[in-house]
C-alpha cells in the first residue's frame, strides 16, 4: 500500500426517529463559524441525514467556488428518489450534469472529472451502498482529487458509513430555518445540523449552522445559547 494511506473506519449510522414535537425555531445567526476544511482540495463525503432531505445541497453550495464549471454526477436511483438538480435554484453555477446508469458509471465519470483542471468541483450522488463503492474506489477519488486540485464531494443518499478513503466525512441534515423577520410563519434562512464524524485535519464535532451571503454562522438557540462546543463528540 502507498505511504500515507489511512484507513478510515465508519461511524455509526444515525437513526433519528421522527419527532412528534416540532423543533423550536432558532432566533437568528450567532457567532461566526469557520468551516473545518483541508488545506488543499480533496475528497469529502457527505451523508444526507435522510434520503429525502435536500439540506446537504445548501450546505455544499455555500462552500463551492463559482469561477469554474461544476460537474454534477447523479446516479439514476438518486434522481428517482430525491430529484434532479434544478438549475434555477443554483444561480451563478455553470453546470455539466451527468446522469449515470449505476454507481460504477457515476464513479467513473467522477474520476474523469477529477482529472480535468477546468472544473471547480465534482459532485457525485450515489444511492445506497453499491458494491462498486468500496474503499479502493473512494481512495482513487481522493488521490485523483488531490493530484488535480479539484474538490470532490461524494454524496451518499440512504447509505451507511462504511470503509472510505474520504478525508472529510460529514453527516448533514436540515435544521429549522432561522426566524424570518418579515413573516414569522414563513421559513427563513436555511440552517443545517452538520456533524463531522471523521476528518484528518480537524477534530470531529457537531454544529447547527446557517450561511448568510458571506459566511457560516452558528445558529443561536431560542434562549440565546450557541450550539457547538458543548455537543462535541469524542473522536
Amino acid at each position: 500500500m502507498a505511504r500515507g494511506l489511512s484507513l478510515v473506519a465508519g461511524g455509526a449510522v444515525s437513526t433519528r426517529s421522527a419527532r412528534a414535537e416540532p423543533r423550536p425555531v432558532p432566533a437568528g445567526a450567532g457567532e461566526r463559524w469557520r468551516l473545518p476544511a483541508p488545506s488543499s482540495p480533496t475528497l469529502s463525503e457527505l451523508f444526507a441525514a435522510h434520503p429525502r432531505d435536500g439540506g446537504w445541497a445548501g450546505f455544499l453550495l455555500a462552500q463551492l467556488d463559482r469561477s469554474k464549471p461544476l460537474l454534477w454526477v447523479q446516479e439514476r436511483m438518486a434522481i428517482l428518489e430525491s430529484g434532479r438538480i434544478h438549475p434555477p435554484g443554483l444561480p451563478g453555477h455553470e453546470l455539466i450534469h451527468v446522469e449515470a446508469r449505476d454507481a460504477r458509471d457515476a464513479l467513473w465519470a467522477m474520476e474523469e472529472g477529477l482529472r480535468c483542471s477546468g472544473l471547480s468541483g465534482v459532485i457525485g450522488e450515489i444511492w445506497g451502498d453499491p458494491r462498486a463503492l468500496d474503499f479502493t474506489a473512494t481512495r482513487r477519488l481522493a488521490v485523483a482529487s488531490e493530484r488535480s486540485g479539484v474538490a470532490a464531494f461524494l454524496i451518499r443518499l440512504g447509505g451507511s458509513a462504511n470503509l472510505s478513503g474520504a478525508r472529510m466525512r460529514w453527516r448533514i441534515g436540515s435544521a429549522p430555518s432561522l426566524l424570518n423577520e418579515l413573516d414569522q410563519k414563513a421559513p427563513g434562512l436555511p440552517a443545517w445540523d452538520a456533524e463531522l464524524f471523521r476528518a484528518r485535519v480537524a477534530p470531529p464535532g457537531r454544529w447547527s449552522i446557517a450561511h448568510d451571503a458571506s459566511a457560516f454562522h452558528l445558529v443561536a438557540e431560542p434562549r440565546g445559547r450557541a450550539l457547538g462546543e458543548v455537543e462535541r463528540l469524542s473522536a
Binding site: 435522510h50 438538480i85 451563478g92 455553470e94 455539466i96 450534469h97 451527468v98 472529472g113 436540515s174
Partner: protein, 505 residues
C-alpha cells in the same frame, strides 16, 4: 476577368483610383508590365511592354510589383464561389469556365444569368466579361473578342481574328502571312490541307474542332476538398477484436498529419472497418471543440474501436474526419498546465463517448414560467464551445433567472415529475397543515405562499390549471416545494390536487 490583377491591387491598396499605375513582373530584360490601370493605359502603357519603354512614353508612371500568385488564389476562391451558378466550374488562367447546360432556367434564362453574374462580380469591384457558347473554346474566343450569348458558334466565330483560337504566337503569325486572318477564312480552307500544313504541336484543326464542337473538350472541375481520410490495408483479414485498436495506432498519426497540413481540427470522426464478406462496420465519435491531438482522439476512439465486430475479419480500416473546423496552430501554454476550456471540452468528449450525449448535458434557460419548462437540458457536446464569449453567454443565460428566482425561492432539486401528495389544510384556499409523501407524514411547521403561476395559455391546452406554490418546512426543518393545482370551482376539473415538486437545500 480581364482586369483582375489591377482590380485586386486597387482593392488592397489605398491609392487614388485615377493614378497611372502599372503592375510589373520580372522579365528576362528587366520589369515587364503585367497589368495597367485605365489612367496608365491612356498614357500609352500596355500589358506585355517593358517598363522602361512605357516610362519613355510617360515618366510619371508608378510601377508596383504584381503578385500573380495572389491573383491565382483569388481566382481559385472565386471558382468555389461560382459554384452558386453551376456545379461544374473550371479555373482557366484568369477566367472561369462554368458548365451551364440545364442551369440557366433557374436564373430566368441565359440573359438573366449573364446579367446576374456581371452584377455580382461588380459588387466585388471586379469586371467580368461573360459569354455563353455551346463549346468551351468558343466561349473563350467570344469572351476575349466579342462577349455575347451565341447558339451558332460557326456564324459568331467567323468574323473573329484567328488569335481567338488560343494558338501560339508563331502559328498566328504564320496564318496571318498566309492571309488567313479570320476564323471564317480558316474554315474555308480544306481540312486536309490545314492538317498537313500545321502538323506541329499547335494543331490548328484540333483548335478549330474544339471551338466548333466537333471534338469534345470536357471541363475539369475545381476539386472539392475531400475530407481528411487515413487508410490502412491488412495483408490478411484480421478476426481478433484488437485489430481495430491496432489499426487506430497507425491511422491516427496519418490523419493528424493531414489535419495539421490543412490547419483544421476534427469535430466528428468515423472509423470504418471493411470486412472481407463485403460489409462494413462503422464507429463514430464527436468532439466538443475541434481537435487534432493524437492522444485525445485515440482515447475517444479506443473503446468504440474495440467494440467493432470483425465477424469474418477486417481487411482494411479507414479513419475519416467527417466534420472539420478551422483550427490554427495553438500552443496551450508555456508551462505544463493546460487551459481550462480545452480540458473541459475534452472531458465532455470522454464522458459523452462512454455514456452517450443524452446523459451528459448542460442546462439552458427557456422562456417559460412553468418551473419544469423554465430550463431545458441540452447535450453538452453540442452546446459547449471553446472560446470565452460562449462561456459568458451560457452563464448570462442562466443568470437571467436571477431576478425571478433565487436560491431562496427556487429549490435546488426538482423531481422529474411532480408527485401527488395528500394534504390536510385548514381552509380550502388556506395554508397546508400536513402532507403525506411516499407514506411519510410531514407536519408543516412554517409555510410561505402562495406563489401563483398561471398556465401559459399560448402553449398549454385550455384545460391546464393554475398552480399555487408553497414553500413549506416540516417539524424537522426539511424544506419542500409543494403546489396545489387548480382552485375549487375553477371549472377545469374537480377538487384541486396537491403535488410535491422540489426539495430545498
Amino acid at each position: 476577368m480581364p482586369n483582375l490583377a489591377v482590380e485586386r491591387w486597387a482593392k488592397s491598396s489605398a491609392s487614388a483610383p485615377d493614378a497611372p499605375v502599372v503592375l510589373t513582373v520580372e522579365g528576362t530584360h528587366g520589369p515587364v508590365i503585367h497589368a495597367v490601370t485605365k489612367a496608365a493605359a491612356e498614357r500609352g502603357a500596355r500589358a506585355g511592354a517593358r517598363l522602361t519603354d512605357a516610362r519613355a512614353l510617360d515618366p510619371a508612371l508608378v510601377a508596383v510589383a504584381a503578385d500573380p500568385e495572389a491573383d491565382a488564389a483569388l481566382v481559385r476562391r472565386l471558382a468555389k464561389w461560382a459554384g452558386r451558378w453551376s456545379p461544374l466550374v473550371e479555373v482557366d488562367g484568369d477566367g472561369l469556365r462554368l458548365d451551364v447546360s440545364g442551369v440557366a432556367h433557374l436564373f430566368g434564362g441565359e440573359e438573366a444569368l449573364v446579367r446576374d453574374i456581371e452584377r455580382r462580380f461588380a459588387h466585388f469591384g471586379l469586371t467580368a466579361r461573360v459569354a455563353i457558347a455551346p463549346t468551351a473554346a468558343a466561349a473563350w474566343a467570344l469572351v476575349h473578342h466579342a462577349p455575347c450569348i451565341c447558339d451558332d458558334p460557326e456564324a459568331k466565330l467567323a468574323p473573329l481574328h484567328v488569335s481567338a483560337l488560343r494558338l501560339d504566337a508563331d502559328t498566328i503569325r504564320t496564318l496571318e502571312r498566309l492571309g488567313l486572318k479570320t476564323i471564317g477564312a480558316l474554315l474555308g480552307v480544306p481540312r486536309l490541307a490545314l492538317a498537313r500544313r500545321f502538323r506541329g504541336a499547335e494543331d490548328v484543326v484540333d483548335a478549330l474542332d474544339r471551338a466548333l464542337g466537333r471534338k469534345p473538350e470536357p471541363l475539369t472541375a475545381v476539386p472539392a476538398e475531400p475530407p481528411p481520410r487515413a487508410l490502412v490495408r491488412l495483408e490478411e483479414p484480421a478476426t481478433h477484436p484488437e485489430a481495430a485498436g491496432q489499426a487506430l495506432e497507425r491511422l491516427i498519426p496519418d490523419l493528424v498529419r493531414q489535419l495539421q497540413e490543412r490547419h483544421i481540427g476534427a469535430r466528428r470522426l468515423s472509423l470504418t472497418g471493411y470486412r472481407v464478406d463485403g460489409s462494413t462496420a462503422v464507429a463514430s465519435v464527436a468532439t466538443t471543440i475541434a481537435s487534432r491531438e493524437p492522444k485525445h482522439l485515440a482515447r475517444l476512439l479506443a473503446d468504440k474501436a474495440a467494440a467493432l465486430d470483425p465477424e469474418f475479419g477486417f481487411d482494411a480500416f479507414a479513419l475519416t474526419a467527417k466534420w472539420t473546423e478551422e483550427l490554427g496552430a495553438a500552443q496551450e501554454s508555456l508551462v505544463e498546465e493546460p487551459s481550462g476550456e480545452r480540458e473541459l471540452a475534452r472531458l465532455v468528449d470522454r464522458l459523452t463517448v462512454k455514456l452517450g450525449p443524452r446523459r451528459v448535458r448542460r442546462p439552458r434557460a427557456e422562456e417559460s414560467h412553468v418551473p419544469e419548462c423554465a430550463f431545458s437540458w441540452v447535450p453538452a457536446v453540442s452546446s459547449l464551445r471553446g472560446g470565452k464569449a460562449t462561456k459568458q453567454s451560457t452563464r448570462g443565460d442562466l443568470d437571467c433567472f436571477a431576478p425571478l428566482a433565487t436560491t431562496a425561492t427556487r429549490p435546488q432539486r426538482l423531481l422529474d415529475r411532480p408527485e401527488a401528495i395528500d394534504v390536510i389544510y385548514a381552509t380550502p384556499e388556506g395554508m397546508p397543515r400536513r402532507f403525506v409523501w411516499r407514506r411519510a407524514v410531514h407536519d408543516i411547521a412554517r409555510a410561505e405562499g402562495p406563489e401563483r403561476i398561471a398556465p401559459e395559455w399560448w402553449r398549454q391546452p385550455s384545460s391546464a390549471r393554475l398552480r399555487d406554490y408553497y414553500r413549506v418546512e416540516d417539524g424537522e426543518g426539511r424544506r419542500y416545494w409543494i403546489f396545489r393545482e387548480g382552485l375549487a370551482g375553477d371549472g377545469r376539473g374537480g377538487a384541486p390536487n396537491w403535488f410535491i415538486q422540489g426539495l430545498f437545500g
